[in-house]
Subunit: 308 residues, 2 copies
């Protein structure tokens, strides 16, 4: 009987792997550098070693399978990583079959933002719901949509590009080709850019802008008002579209909650009739950087239920 | 064995009822006035008579059930119509149980825009896909989302408010409380308002503006460019969020396709990386005003499969 899964969260800088039991209890954890410069084989070897080490410490017969979360676009049918800008050697790599061959166990790939959303649903702030949307406010803005307990992928695995929706049609130009993407108005990068524009400093991080806001700096507070307002416009649209019970925020900008949340909730109230007339919750995610790891480990259990 | 379903499309002015077989073939049809002024009991009586007449012409044992599509918000669990501005006597009415009691057959209620999306999926332009989004461009803009073959309802049945998403944060004020709703920039009403603003005429219908555009009137063409641009911004967001293979347009504005589509596709191309890099289709719906009727008749078959 399958009692545990192994999840891997492969990032551009580090990877983490963990065995987690079917009730979501973290049993064991290994981490290391991704070392993209060393190439595909080196990364693959490191991940495989970590998974084997975790499996060797338990009963291999009880392993449900292995989930791997990583940044990039994935062809779910083929188990092919179409593009992974943060882990370049894995772009164009049939990673699922390569891992399955070396490990002799079922492997499922998932986009890291989707995995984080699934992790929050399984063991985080979304435990009590079947439908939620997660926005990760970091250098960029990523996201994942959980619909009826499962990741919404879209027909090419490109759903939930939640940072690249228009919140201001004449807004800031984005590398994706659009203008006024949510990401250009509400990410950590956008906060730094707004601080520069308001003469707060040339190279402030969003954390430093947050510290200035905490010290009472009015321009820094204005930055978070603008950021919160853009975020509220985006969230109001998501609430109108999905009518989910829960929308979660995570990522490096989260500590600035007290400075951006008032403007965010004001926009939500003004712009979304559904928000005003239902008990819709917009809350902080709770698993932090472990969300993707939990989501990855959850994947083999979901797969078992689906085929049962 | 269930071989046919009965669908009812209850509108503010007229109702239509049809028996449709499990393969989507329309067998029989009855229509009449809704007559809201006569009150709840009169409307209910008319619908029940139509359904009984349709059933009496076939084998009652082969009836899968009855689906009723109507405008308004529905509590799906309770079978309660929370609000129906176009059929006021049905607001606050437990219509499902009332119909079930009188008919002795399973009854399912559905919002009319959701039913139209389901109808297009079953027998219309979406027959070859499991996921689609339908936008109905009429006096207002409504919509429905079909995800994995089924209607996306949201936790309070308020999902797919696709006309009330922000496409311009400083745009036209909307009765829903927002500014810059898609509906205020791309519906038939918005087209009339833009025609007035551009001095084309005080009370032109969207059809008359379309006729002017067809005759070469530049201001009328400008109206449809603005409308198509707003529609493209909204659609680009939907493509980024869902990555569905198909987005359908229907409603009274559809005959102006040749005048608004170029601006719509231009915005889609510029604003959605997913649109540019996948074979995403944006097309005309094909069932016209019958979409809701087909969707309603499809509901009992879906319900049977779900409980089988």
């Amino acid at each position: 009987m399958a009692t545990y899964g192994i999840g891997v969260d492969l990032g551009g800088t580090n990877y983490r792997a963990a065995s987690i039991d079917k009730d979501g209890k973290l049993l064991d954890k290994i981490a290391g550098p991704t070392n993209s410069a060393a190439g595909r084989e080196a990364i693959l070897g490191a991940i495989v070693s970590a998974i084997v080490a975790l499996r060797d410490r338990r009963d291999a017969d009880e392993l449900a399978g292995i989930g791997v979360a990583l940044p990039g676009f994935i062809d779910m049918q083929k188990g092919l990583i179409l593009a992974s800008p943060n882990v370049p050697p894995f772009s164009g790599f049939h990673a699922r079959d390569a891992l399955r061959e070396r490990l002799g166990a079922p492997v499922i790939l998932e986009n890291d933002a989707n995995a984080a959303a699934l992790g929050e649903k399984w063991m985080g702030a979304g435990r009590d719901v079947d439908d939620l949307l997660l926005l990760t406010l970091g250098t960029g803005i990523g996201g994942g949509i959980i619909c009826d307990g499962r990741v919404l992928h879209g027909f090419m695995g490109m759903a939930a590009e939640l940072g690249h929706v228009t919140v201001d049609p004449t807004g800031n130009p984005c590398a994706c080709g659009n203008r006024g993407c949510l990401e250009k108005h509400a990410s950590a990068t956008a906060i730094s850019a707004m601080a520069r524009f308001l003469n707060l400093g040339e190279n402030l991080t969003s954390q430093q802008v947050c510290e200035l806001a905490a010290a009472g700096n009015q321009a820094a507070r204005r930055v978070f008002e603008l950021m919160g307002s853009a975020l509220g416009i985006g969230l109001a649209n998501y609430v109108q579209i999905f009518n989910f019970p829960l929308y979660l925020l995570s990522g490096g900008v989260l500590p600035a909650w007290e400075f951006f949340a008032p403007a965010m909730f004001r926009e939500l109230n003004e712009r979304s009739l559904t928000y005003r007339s239902t008990q819709t919750r917009v809350e902080k995610a709770t698993l932090g950087s472990d969300a993707g790891l939990f989501g990855a480990a959850c994947l083999p259990f979901q797969s078992q239920r689906a085929s049962a």
